[in-house]
């Protein structure tokens, strides 16, 4: 799981162009949206694409995103349970 969390952090930094942030700056329980990394709605869409492209996960209900994208911990747990690739 630690390896997956690390990979997710790298992928988020890359796809969201977070140039001033490195993997070590993102704590596993940091909020990804709002006061945490300060991501916005377009970033959320980009994360949905990332889940589909990298892990074969299609989010059927966008409302799920709020819980799934709460932190690296919640995102990694969701990916671990639902990934098809």
């Amino acid at each position: 799981m630690a390896e997956l969390k690390n990979l997710l952090k790298q992928q988020i930094i890359e796809v969201l162009n977070l140039e001033d942030i490195c993997v070590a700056d993102i704590q596993d329980d940091d909020a990804l949206f709002g006061d945490g990394l300060g991501l916005d709605s377009i970033d959320a869409l980009e994360l949905i694409v990332l889940l589909d492209k990298q892990y074969g996960i299609k989010l059927a209900d966008p409302k799920q995103g709020k819980e799934i994208f709460a932190s690296i911990n919640t995102l990694a747990a969701f990916v671990e349970q639902n990934r098809t690739k």
Partner: protein, 197 residues
């Protein structure tokens, strides 16, 4: 008659402000040059890194023109020939393979050139008149009287005008600020000289 208070040219890794070189980057690649200039200007605005190249270019030119500006009523009149073609082509590339179809929402939002006006307006908290004009060349004879009208009718106190080029890494920005006081007469001859620098 209004005046031109300052003018800026960004091209060939360099920034000229009123004809003086004020920054010279090390990289010939626009993305790297833009990052160098962003850091040189000591800007703290992480959203910059998410912008497409056209927006980065307009953002940086505007940032230089509006340094220490406290005026809120600044109209924005930007113009280019290529529209958002630079990002359109990247988007097309992403969606052209049906077996690997993952369009990027973050790229798609930049497939309109007037987003650059939005980015500058958000950055400087402008809720003013704006226009993004697509044309083969800078329309001085049309834009100059429009600037005069905007200021004379109190629609704006200043007008930031810009001619942009961004396609496949080839870039150029020529911006000038129009307001009641300045260093040059706001006339077509001076505008054409600024745009062609």
């Amino acid at each position: 008659m209004q005046k031109i208070s300052q003018y800026i040219a960004i091209r060939d890794n360099r920034v000229l402000w009123n004809d003086n070189v004020v920054f010279e980057g090390q990289s010939s690649d626009f993305k790297d040059f833009a990052k160098e200039l962003y850091q040189h200007l000591e800007i703290n605005y992480p959203k910059f890194y998410k912008m497409d190249n056209l927006c980065k270019l307009a953002f940086l030119a505007s940032e230089i023109a509006l340094t220490n500006n406290e005026e809120e009523d600044i109209a924005l009149l930007f113009c280019n020939k290529e529209g958002s073609l630079d990002s359109d082509l990247q988007h097309q590339k992403l969606i052209s393979n049906i077996d690997n179809f993952y369009p990027s929402p973050a790229l798609f939002v930049y497939t309109l050139p007037n987003i650059s006006i939005g980015e500058v307006s958000i950055r400087h908290q402008l809720k003013s008149e704006s226009m993004f004009l697509l044309a083969d060349r800078y329309q001085s004879e049309y834009i100059a009287p429009y600037c005069e009208l905007l200021i004379n009718s109190s629609k704006a106190n200043k007008v930031l005008c810009g001619w942009l080029k961004m396609i496949n890494g080839d870039y150029q920005a020529n911006f000038y600020l129009v307001e009641p006081e300045g260093i040059l007469e706001h006339n077509i001859e001076n505008i054409d000289q600024i745009i062609n620098k």
